[in-house]
Amino acid sequence: MNIELNGKIYEVEPGQTILEAARSHGVYIPTLCYHAKTGGVGKCRVCVVEVEGMRGIVTACTVQVGEDMKIVTESPSLRKHRKMVVDLLLSAGHHDCLSCAQCGNCELQDVAYSLGLTHPSFPQPERKPEDLSSEFLVFDETKCIQCGRCIQGDNCTVINDTLGFAYRGADTKVSFDHDLPIGSSSCVQCGECVQLCPTGALTDKKARGLGRNWELEKVNTTCPYCGVGCQMTLHVDRKQNRIVRVTGREDAFNEGMLCVKGRYGYDFPSSPKRLTHPMIRKNGVLEQVSWEEALDYTATRIKEIVDRDGPDVFSAFGSGRITNENNYAIQKFTRAVIGTNNVDHCART
């Protein structure tokens, strides 16, 4: 079907919202509460547009396109309203972009920038301390815009029912259980809410101060922990050779979701306790040896034992920390070379 967007005709899919249709053709309509996963909920009112024949102005995220619908996404009055709405949001909190973890990756910052808003026009409320009570999450209420994405994610994708809105009107706030500190709540710290948060209200505690968004290299990989194989992006500081944070890939089957281990258990690659060379215990003491010596020693010992007691005394245990190919080789070796089915794996999902 066709619609007219700002005077130009576009072909769009029936059932799409105005926002989806506009985005599919690269027409920018600012949004804050919309996320592909949590849908159009009409909360932030930033995506307001004018549709011919419809009373007043409507939100692009909630109204579906209709045949030959005439839509205007930019006009002086729309801009005025958007500016006022975003101004109200900026004024309701404390957006200190200088030190905010989300800076450069913040949807509120982007919208404020595109509208040319320089400062909040209304007096700002008192500052409130961040909630630092949990291991991995930080919640800064004063940067929360009550978009509800975290709650939707918690209630509808993770289905943990920890988050909800408490109180009402200007007192409305995101609450963990019955307004408990995160650390005392039923939160399992999967970080789905952090992933969905458009601002710096919910951030990763471990990544604080370790690098700005734009400095970190994004490396896509598969989670090493279990057999589900969630897709993730490592945010890597190359100079320090360090993973700073992990996010789920929203374009993959896990739709951005990760579990607490996948999202926050990324210390092991740079752990000082990690084995970096082969060692053999000689006379009760571990000694560093060459790969050649280590492999020869291991092959000889395995052969001796299997020849003496039969293949079923042998058992191989694969690891989640190594690649699929490595694990494949392990089981192939166990079955074809040794001749036993004693194969197992820490991520036997």
């Binding site: 159009g40 909920v41 009409g42 909360k43 932030c44 009112r45 930033v46 307001v48 007043g56 102005i57 939100t59 909630t62 109204v63 579906q64 009055s77 005025k80 309203h81 006022m84 709405v85 109200l88 949001l89 004024s91 309701a92 026009s121 209304f122 007096p123 815009i145 009550q146 909800g164 809105f165 109180y167 009402r168 009107g169 200007a170 007192d171 409305t172």
Partner: protein, 622 residues
Amino acid sequence: MNIERIASISTLENIRDKARASSPENGKSEEQEAVLLCAGGGCIASGAYAFKEALQSALNSQGLADKVTIIETGCLGPCAQGPVCVIGRDKTYYQGLQPTDAEELVSSHLKGNQIVERLTWKGEGEKPVPVLADIEFFKRQTKIVLRNCGRIVPTSLQDYIAHDGYAGLAKALTSMTPEQVIDEVRISGLRGRGGAGFPTHIKWTFTRNSEDPQKYILCNADEGDPGAYMDRSVLEGDPHSIVEGMALGAYAIGSSKGYVYVRAEYPLAIERLQIAIDAARQAGLLGKRILDTDFCFDVEIRMGSGAFVCGEETALINSIEGKRGEPRPRPPFPAVKGLWQKPSCLNNVETFANIPAIIHRGGAWYAGMGTEKSKGTKVFALAGAINVSGLVEVPIGAKLREIIYDIGGGIKGGGVFKAAQMGGPSGGCIPAAHLDVGLDYETLQSLGAIMGSGGMIVMDEHSCMVDVARFFLEFTQDESCGKCVPCREGTKRMQAILTKICAGEASMEDLDLLEDLASTVKSTSLCGLGQTAPNPVLSTLMHFRDEYVEHITDRKCRAHVCPALVQFNINDNCTGCTLCARRCPVQAISGEKKEKHVIDQSLCIKCGACLLACKFEAVDKQ
């Protein structure tokens, strides 16, 4: 009480004829007399039950206990005069009843047929007007919604039937198709009384046309507008009319299940409605195969916790579902996806109360009242600076002047009418210049007010219009559900600016910002609460802009309401009696005996105690 199942129209008619003969309204029977005591919320609050007890013991002690029965009815309307009662047979109306009046009422009126004049209505020149039908307040009203309130025993199915109750339902089920019912409502011209005035038949047609085996009919008894209590009065005084109205609506749209959403602060309404539902169920007027037709329908009550926003239809639906009371974006409209995603039709209590009468007496009869575009009657809750406050029902299109002066008896203390606030927090003010316009949906809107639920607060020169706007914004910002940004944050900022203006601390730039805010909140809010929240500001700005400017530039509040802009001064009338100095709670007044006193403005907290104390009119409020 055991209620027999009513299986046919003829059984219903038999019951009606029998019940009519012994209806308490007509004094029950030749020998029996009845006192219809208003047991509406207002009268109960002013002591109706204490009076009832006293009356009963007076009847006992004077030997009339088996001749006279006290009947608790619903609200009669003049709520500020309560407790009130009507003597059944001769329809004498008494008001302001105290327990100490009981003995006299029994000995004079009930025994001696002597009217107790001091307890009657006072007409012009304080002349007693004893008979209900002669009293201006009642005479000038047209009661359809409130037709049974104050006349029947709210908890009696028989008495409701005696007053043509369930006749409309019987007529519809036995001789009309659902389409014909909708058409009758179309002919009546009935528009929703919940606020927006949406034509009821269109809503019913939409829901009828949504194909789904399960549909719901919902009744909005949330009644959140401060000062409005007509829905409560109907539920307390005539609950069966809502059961019947909903059954008719259910038949029309093809639903078998209804919910009434009532705020928990209305315990009496809930109690009486539940009694009515139980009785209707026992009589087979709810449940399976009603009146031996294929129509099945039942109703349940759902209680709300009194959030204003839960009166909004989608928030109400969320609340019934057990979710946070927040509106949903529309479309989809409830007629397509409502309660539990099923087609649902929501109407207001007053809307439903009209339906049985419309079906029973015909749409054309109803359309004979009202104006071209707004038919029938509307109930208003009169309050404020008016002599008789209470509930009044008049044909739509009645003039403001009629309501205030003819029915309401004019401005209290002979003051001058300044404006009427109509439609509560979503509405606006109508100034004196428009006293003679007819009150209908379109006219009110063009004046910046709305019909709303019918709240009408009358104001005289002692009301500050900026303060009025501030009051309503304080309400809306507190009641905002917080779902969308403009309402959640914007109303709070509007309230802050209004508070600043009232404190005399605002600049003209603040006024511009207030108007910008009003425009964005109105145009971009998600639901009706936010979309209408700026109305009290916009309408007072439309009619009383000079008062805003006065507050800002002259630091003056002409109504002497805003404390920061009021000054108390002592003039030359002062005799130096020292009374005011002794009354002042902060010792701000000083002066020698027999000499003129002065008020230290830096200490004064503007409580006004000196003004009240002074016997020589020596204190000025400026």
